[in-house]
């Protein structure tokens, strides 16, 4: 579908969702590079209502034929909606369309948050170096706020099945090991050794069942030069589980970006202290290690599955090859590091 066709069909869809609007137009529709799990576009929606011309900057996220991570967009939409207006900054969700009639694939539309950065590489340029400690405090405080939230009070248990506290760890491990079993294109001796260690050394039961963002890392939030965060993005792997899972993902060494610091920002201990203060939970060192290693396995499963989607021909976009080539060995080295083998 050409950009012009997409804009036209999106405008027609918007008109059906805004009965009071007239002369609905989609302007300046442009694809945002990246977005391995959804095709992402920014655009301006313009319309006339009550005799007044109005405009809003929005984001369209459309499912590709095959994605890096197969997820339920309803779950993602519910997670964003649950946290909108809370201490966890997220864009406002506008529409969720699960049918394929309007734009050939399911999609969602959300508010665009403008004026901030998401790219990790910018963080290590001169303008941002002084913000690292403040940004780390904000980052792990927000992650702690996600952990502190009550998913049942937020109504998220309606779309995300809650596990028993003692079942969280192996439910996740079973799921991602299955992805590896199904998608691996070559043997993975380091990842398989990690899985055996995880099974032989289970963590304690979760202190609580919380919301797990599933991909909370540098690169998935919008930041400024003062250490502020203005939008937490990419909730497509959100689920209910042990809040330590998110902490472990944020400490996965691949997100250090070749710096020996959590998220490339601060020592792990500092990040953990911010998280504990905000969440009201304890980060038992052995449990944190288990969840960090688990998240290395999960990461490997994600990189492997992107390779599989490309190999099988479901998605031949170059973004699917980049993590497969650029992350697998780094993830193996992260596993060795967490297991004290490097």
């Amino acid at each position: 579908m050409s950009s012009a066709d997409l804009a036209s069909r999106l405008a027609a869809y918007a008109a059906t969702r805004m009965p009071a609007a007239r002369e609905v137009e989609v302007r300046d529709l442009s694809r945002i590079s990246g977005g391995a799990s959804r095709q992402t576009y920014r655009f301006r929606l313009a319309w006339t209502e009550g005799g007044e011309r109005r405009e809003r900057r929005l984001i369209l996220r459309r499912d590709p034929p095959a994605s890096l991570i197969d997820t339920e967009r309803r779950v993602e939409f519910a997670a964003y909606s649950a946290f909108h207006g809370s201490k966890v900054p997220v864009p406002e969700m506008i529409w969720l369309e699960e049918g394929s009639e309007a734009l050939d694939q399911p999609f969602s539309v959300a508010e665009e948050i403008t004026g901030f950065e998401a790219a990790p590489a910018l963080l290590w340029t001169a303008s941002y170096l002084a913000s690292h400690e403040a940004l780390a405090r904000t980052k792990w405080t927000i992650l702690g706020e996600i952990a502190r939230a009550d998913p049942f009070a937020l109504g998220l248990d309606a779309v995300m099945p809650p596990p028993e506290p003692e079942a969280c760890a192996f439910r996740e491990l079973d799921m991602w090991e299955k992805v590896l079993d199904e998608d691996q294109a070559e043997p993975l001796p380091i990842t398989r050794a990690a899985i055996r260690w995880l099974r032989a050394n289970p963590p304690p039961a979760a202190q609580k069942i919380g919301v797990v963002h599933g991909d909370f890392r540098t690169g998935n939030f919008l930041y400024d030069r003062q250490g502020g965060i203005h939008g937490v993005l990419d909730w497509e792997m959100a689920h209910l589980g042990d809040p330590l899972e998110d902490l472990g993902w944020s400490l996965n060494p691949v997100w250090n970006f070749k710096r020996n610091l959590a998220g490339g920002l601060v020592p792990d201990a500092v990040a953990i202290a911010h998280w504990e203060a905000a969440s009201g939970l304890r980060a038992d060192p052995a449990a944190v290690r288990w969840w960090t290693l688990f998240n290395c396995v999960k990461g490997q499963a994600i990189w492997i599955s992107s390779a599989r989607a490309w190999i099988d021909g479901g998605n031949r976009e170059p973004i699917m090859v980049l993590p497969a080539w650029g992350m697998q060995n780094a993830q193996d080295r992260a596993i060795l590091k967490v297991m004290d083998r490097l």
């Binding site: 950009s3 590079s33 294109a185 070749k258 193996d332």
Partner: protein, 142 residues
Amino acid sequence: MKPDIPAVLAELAGLVARNAVPDVDPAERAGALGLSAALLGMAAEAWDGAAQRLVEENRALRALLARAGDRAGRDAWLAGGVDDDLRISALSTANARLRAALVDLHVAVERDPSSEARALEAEIWDELRRSTERRLMSGALA
């Protein structure tokens, strides 16, 4: 590297050709070509050393299997192999078979409480560490 480099290069050739058409949206073109450039850089770096890395690794894995002896079980015969065919695809196929055998050997060694097994396990971890060094790329994302 999976997907295989030749298949990715062929796909990138088509992508570049499609983006040579004048009416492609500039933002889409920029995204596609930027990612393509990153992948071409990785492919270029992997190209020269690929055969060397695979031959070296296959040799190391065969030596490990030979030292494991009976512990290698049904895979013990792989220790006697030789890389006669130096095409990357043939070396990769042999490498995959040897790394699968290494997984099985690692499992067997972990279950064996003997001191000989511990020594072999240490050798396996050494080889796994070296395998990540062989695969290091300057353009890696992390």
